[in-house]
């Protein structure tokens, strides 16, 4: 079976630091996979490797069966992998429309004809709720608008795989609900989603499967309920209990 994305024995070291050790992931087409773990676990580093921003020290990423080693980020984007950034990184002095246009013109292997581009970019902006804001400089947008712009820009590249890095952090509960709906709609359009998230509510609602990283190592994998009650996961997030408080109890 060819997975949409497969990571085979991904290792990444920075000098003496093992950021990732033997990561093996298989992502089926059309699923929403969650990646959770404490801060510093290596989740964003994994995204950097998948998207081609960083090369792995060992191991290889396979996209629809095709090895990505040696390919630069531009080519990987055009193949169909797009990402957002945890700390939003829009093209600051460009407008929201221009941000999306960058993805639309350069991130696709077959960009639409010139006359159709603005209309299509507007469609994506409207889908993400940025309808009237297209001519605002992206640095002047609110945080939630910037986060939606991140997603819009990534969607503009018509990705097969969308890497979402903590898209709901800093959002109010209402905004979160809206974003959850939007991600579901993205999934129905045939996009495979891999999301790094800290907000468990979002992960539980959207992901059928979760992978847990801690200190660069995969410590658990499975359905949300299983993972959240896994003692290893609880210890990773909360530390070892000092008394004999029962671990394994999810309230």
């Amino acid at each position: 079976m060819t997975y949409a994305l497969e990571c085979k024995k991904i290792n990444k070291t920075f000098g003496g630091l093992n950021a990732l050790t033997d990561i093996n992931l298989q992502v089926t087409e059309g699923e929403i996979l969650g990646i959770i773990g404490p801060n510093g676990a290596g989740k964003t580093t994994l995204f950097n490797i998948i998207s081609g921003a960083l090369p792995p020290t060992k191991g290889e990423v396979f996209f629809k069966g095709r090895g990505l080693s040696g390919m630069g980020a531009p080519k990987i984007c055009r193949l169909g992998i797009a990402r957002t950034y945890q700390l939003v990184r829009p093209f600051h002095s460009l407008t929201a429309l221009e941000n999306v246009l960058v993805g639309l013109c350069f991130g696709r292997s077959d960009p639409p004809p010139r006359e159709a581009r603005v209309a299509e970019a507007m469609g994506i902006l409207e889908f993400m709720g940025l309808g009237g804001r297209e001519n605002k400089a992206s640095e002047s947008l609110t945080l939630v608008e910037k986060k939606h712009l991140e997603i819009a820009r990534a969607l503009a590249t018509t990705p097969d795989i969308l890497l979402l890095d903590e898209v709901v952090s800093g959002l109010t509960p209402t905004e979160m609900t809206r974003t959850i709906d939007t991600i579901r709609q993205i999934q129905t359009r045939g996009v495979t989603v891999i999301m790094i998230e800290h907000v468990l509510r979002v992960v539980m609602e959207l992901c059928k499967r979760i992978v847990v990283l801690n200190y660069g190592v995969q410590i658990a994998e499975g359905s949300p309920r299983d993972v959240v009650s896994d003692p290893k996961v609880i210890v990773a997030y909360l530390g070892k209990p000092e008394s004999d408080d029962k671990i394994g109890q999810v309230t």
Binding site: R78, A82, V102, V118
Partner: protein, 320 residues
């Protein structure tokens, strides 16, 4: 942009072009020379801005293209080449040099890139000075004498207008959008498919073309250049100060800056001869403190620019 609103703008432009075309009959040769120099500096400022403003890499070594263009043209003219051929080959040489040198240079960022490109000027100046048999060394090189002021004036006007038009359309093109995205965030730009290494090299090569061309026109008019006159601090820094004063990243910015500084120099020139470099330094400091975006982004000038339809950088895509 409303066509009706643009009518007065077009009228002014045509009037201006008319005045420029008729200037040899309206003014003395000093004025012609002044406009000639303004055109040369403005061309350099505009072409600098493609890498310095659009791409966001401060190419302090931009005058290298100018000097290479000037010297190549001078040498070829002395060997009997026609002006057109000499200019054409000068452009090719400067462009090839830019292409080659872009590989090591663009591995650097920010201040390191600026310093390395600045060092390039001195490097080329030393090379040129030492190739005495070819270039006449530190004594400079003369081209076949003749009063070329009139045709050189028109040629310079054509070059600067062409560069303005090119710069305008570049900012509104897909390639221009890519350059802006590299300036804003190069790593993110790559992750959205922009072939950054290729485009950076292209930008440098493109910016070398007007610079080398105007260098050739310059030497044809002056009939003499020395390493100092084409590789010195004055010619290296003035276009950059002009672009920054007017506002980098736009087509009109360098225009404002060049006109402003040329006018100021005209008043200071006869009074304090060596004041120029001091003035540039002062301008840069004041600019950083009070007007970081340059003249065109101030609240006084910006509305005017936008009313003329010259403000929005990316209009290309709205033509549907």
């Amino acid at each position: 942009m409303n066509w009706i609103q643009k009518k007065p703008f077009y009228f002014i432009v045509i009037l201006l072009l008319g005045v420029l075309a008729a200037l040899p009959w309206l003014a003395v040769s000093y004025t012609l020379t002044l406009v000639f120099f303004l055109s040369v500096y403005l061309t350099l400022a505009l072409s600098y801005d493609i890498v310095g403003g659009y791409l966001g890499y401060m190419n302090l070594g931009h005058s290298t293209s100018f000097g290479l263009g000037a010297y190549t043209t001078a040498i070829l003219l002395n060997h009997g080449f026609s002006l057109i051929l000499a200019l054409g080959l000068a452009i090719l040489l400067a462009a090839a040099f830019a292409a080659i040198v872009s590989y090591p240079l663009f591995r650097l960022r920010g201040a390191y890139f600026a310093l390395a490109t600045f060092g390039l000027i001195s490097l080329i100046e030393v090379v040129v000075t030492n190739l005495r048999d070819l270039t006449g060394g530190s004594g400079g090189i003369s081209t076949p004498p003749g009063n070329n002021l009139l045709p050189a004036y028109y040629l310079a006007i054509v070059v600067v207008l062409g560069t303005m038009v090119f710069s305008y359309y570049l900012a509104r093109s897909q390639f221009g959008l890519a350059l802006f995205s590299i300036r804003e965030d190069e790593e993110v730009s790559r992750s959205f498919g922009v072939p950054t290494s290729l485009y950076k090299c292209l930008a440098l090569v493109i910016s070398s073309v007007p610079a080398s061309l105007v260098g050739g026109v310059y030497v044809w008019n002056m009939t003499y250049i020395s390493p100092h006159s084409v590789f010195g601090l004055e010619i290296a820094l003035s276009p950059i100060v002009m672009a920054m004063l007017g506002g980098t990243g736009t087509m009109v910015g360098p225009v404002f800056g060049a006109i402003f500084i040329t006018l100021v120099q005209e008043f200071l020139w006869t009074k304090v001869p060596y004041f120029h470099l001091t003035m540039y330094g002062t301008v840069l400091v004041l600019l950083g403190l009070f007007m970081p975006g340059g003249l065109v982004r101030t609240q006084w000038v910006r509305p005017l620019v936008q009313r003329l339809g010259l403000g929005e950088e990316i209009e290309y895509f709205k033509k549907s």
